[in-house]
Amino acid sequence: EPEVTQTPSHQVTQMGQEVILRCVPISNHLYFYWYRQILGQKVEFLVSFYNNEISEKSEIFDDQFSVERPDGSNFTLKIRSTKLEDSAMYFCASSPGSNTGELFFGEGSRLTVL
């Protein structure tokens, strides 16, 4: 069964460093998403991406964050200068269309900022 894959599964970084989290969505899906879950808190929407541009983003998704689909298969989340509060589990998801309602999630990338 096709699945969303994420790398790395866990990354430890120093505050102020740039981090890139990578995702390979399901191949025929059109919408891509990043969500995050800070330990002990809710899963929160960050951004959705369609047709090579951001379609929606939350207040969390500030100028420190960017997304890219560099090669037609990968979907990346970049955090330019990490802060302690960026420590979280980051989930990538994809969906075949906007109204199916089913997002297929990856297993997550745990980011620890020291």
Partner: protein, 113 residues
Amino acid sequence: AQSVTQPDIHITVSEGASLELRCNYSYGATPYLFWYVQSPGQGLQLLLKYFSGDTLVQGIKGFEAEFKRSQSSFNLRKPSVHWSDAAEYFCAVSSGSARQLTFGSGTQLTVLP
């Protein structure tokens, strides 16, 4: 703004017992409602969803949920729990575009042998 409340942080049931996980939502229009499950080390897997129509929806793994507009609820049920159901369960709501999900805080389910 839409919101989801899962009042039970942790529920423990015995294997074979019935299960009900509560979910209440706040949303101005008819919501799209979802239940996801997360097993340890796994991603979020969709159990079931409600868009419209029959208010009792069936999902995978023997789960069902009932949409009650009058109570703003979408509770998840299973008649007989299996040990493999131990996981964290998330209720979520979205608008018609279904692109941005708002999640509840999750309910951790423990199943006793």
